[in-house]
Amino acid sequence: MRRREFIKKAGLATAGAFAAPYILPSGRLFAASGIRKVNHVVFCMFAGGVRNFESVDKSLGNLMPHMLLGSETIAPDIAAAIAASQPPAFNLGYNLQTKGTLFKDFRYAKGPTGHFNGHTTAITGAYTTADLNIKDHPHTPTIFELYRKHNSPAQTPRKCWWISNALGPYPALNFSSYAGYGAQFGANFIAPTFMFSNQGYDSIGSLKTFTSAEEAAVNNMRTFMNHNFNKNFVDGDAGVTNTETDAAELQTWINSMFSQYQSGTFNNPWGPGAYNNDMMNIFFAEKVIDQFQPELLVVNMQDVDVAHFNFTNYAVNLNKADLAVAQLWNKIQTTPGMMDDTVMIIAPEHGRNEIGNSSIDANGRAALDHTAALDEVTGDQMAREIFCQVLGPSSVVQQGQVITGVTGESIDIASSIANLLGFDMQMPSGLLRDFNNTGIQQAFL
């Protein structure tokens, strides 16, 4: 080979090596500019307001035996209440603390310590210090929109879910009103405990069916009518719009879910016991995982918020939330395509006050609100103190690590999701905190 030809070919080969997409061990192709650490991220908002005293500090004993190492004895009155609440038995076989990094002193540093503020902050990676309209979509892009707009290759909402245990303002968190983003990049939203219920079935569960030929004839008429009308009911007013193929799959899945609900399949899904709303919400998240194997899934729990009125029930629901997290992790690790290729981040949206309110329960324990002053300094600021646990493959997440000093903030979570899924460098700067400046990065190799 002549020298000039050799140099030309060597140059092309080198350029090709840089320009070609990377092939990850999973076999999936990605644009060279976005290197993924994993292909799936699940963010479980351990929400409702959880105080570090009762969670990671174990002041009442270890109420979270699946997530936290330790056999500290639970206070007798709380232990009795937990037993009476009939949690289903479950043995994961290992402790989640060994599968990742635990931040014992994370921070919800700014903004009102309200549930919706906390949810919005975690999902957008931006504190809600200016204003927040509970009837509005967030004013800054959600992690769902950032993922769908900047991830390569682009994914439909089928791979991106926000699963909420409540209605009210929470459905609005699947996309923002930020210019250039919005519904066309939003997540599929579902509040399954409202949908898959007797009232849900009585409202949307029993459908008139049409043959494919009948559907085609209806489509023909509808298409004519739509062409004859000058407006289109789509993204925005119509929420997130799925592709025709995805919508058909969703309809079939919803039908199947209603069918299973009606037949009692969802009674005691994890074995005999008493299930609260949190557990059912996590169970339905598992059904979404079964069907869609989302690349990005955010699911929440909020039953611990009973702490406003009854401290003992707060402790009981904390214990059940721990069980639900273990079930969710087990589902991920037994789902082909997600096992060993998923990072799960668990964190409350905010904490609770140090000083109890005037509601005293049957065990003589004071209930707890969450009302940290906005100046972030004065008064009872304990509602800003939370924990964060990051679980994942040993090639990605530091295993068995515990970070005790004040490290990491709520807004770091969105940055880490963007980094894990490999699209953080594709986003306009300033929308999220630079991952390299976050505390949560200490969880990763």
């Binding site: 909402p157 926000w162 209605l167 459905p171 699947n174 939003g186 997540a187 599929n188 939203f189 579902i190 509040a191 399954p192 409202f194 949908m195 009232q199 849900g200 009585d202 409202s203 949307i204 569960g205 029993s206 459908l207 008139k208 069916t209 049409f210 030929a213 009948e214 004839a217 209806v218 489509n219 023909n220 008429m221 509808r222 004519f224 009518m225 739509n226 004859n228 009308f229 000058n230 407006k231 289109n232 009911f233 789509v234 007013d237 119509a238 929420g239 997130v240 719009t241 799925n242 919508a247 969703l250 309809q251 919803i254």
Partner: protein
């Protein structure tokens, strides 16, 4: 000058003047039509129905009565519980269509006078008369396909874009 010759010239001049006068009165015909502003059917509708309005109107259109409060509440909850509104509206309409209490003209009634059925159906759902082309086109679809039922026509109308506006 000979007076007779003078009279002759006067007569000729007058004849020419009369001829010229008549020829200048010839009428030029201009054919015109009255200006007509062309608009799309339903084009004046600019407002999206609220969720409550949509559910209430679907119910009253299909059952000819107001939606009961508890039904409205439960359907609203189901509506709010899913993010793809087109998908969930499709389910709401099909759920109601599946009710034995739904009030829809029989297929025999529809086929007895298809243009009239189309007229009444468009007016019922879109609050306007169909234009001639709409009526012809939809009537033709129905007339040329005996498998099309009144329920299918109702379903098409209620899941169209125009039904979502007022």
């Amino acid at each position: 000058m000979n007076p007779n010759k003078n009279k002759l010239w006067q007569s000729i001049a007058m004849a020419l003047a009369i001829t010229a006068c008549f020829s200048s009165c010839k009428k030029d015909y201009v054919y015109e039509v009255t200006d007509v502003k062309v608009t799309q059917p339903g084009g004046e509708k600019t407002n999206v129905k609220t969720t409550t309005e949509f559910i209430s109107i679907v119910y009253s259109d299909l059952f000819n009565t107001n939606v009961p409060t508890d039904t409205l509440l439960y359907v609203q909850q189901a509506y709010d519980a899913f993010g793809d509104k087109k998908l969930i509206e499709d389910r709401i309409v099909r759920h109601f269509l599946n009710s034995p209490a739904v009030q829809i003209p029989s297929d025999a009634t529809m086929r007895a006078n298809i243009p009239l059925f189309v007229d009444e159906t468009i007016e019922k759902f879109f609050n306007r008369k169909p234009d001639a082309f709409e009526n012809y086109f939809i009537s033709d679809i129905i007339g040329s396909n005996t498998a099309i039922t009144a329920i299918m026509v109702y379903y098409a109308c209620m899941t169209s874009n125009e039904y979502r506006y007022y």
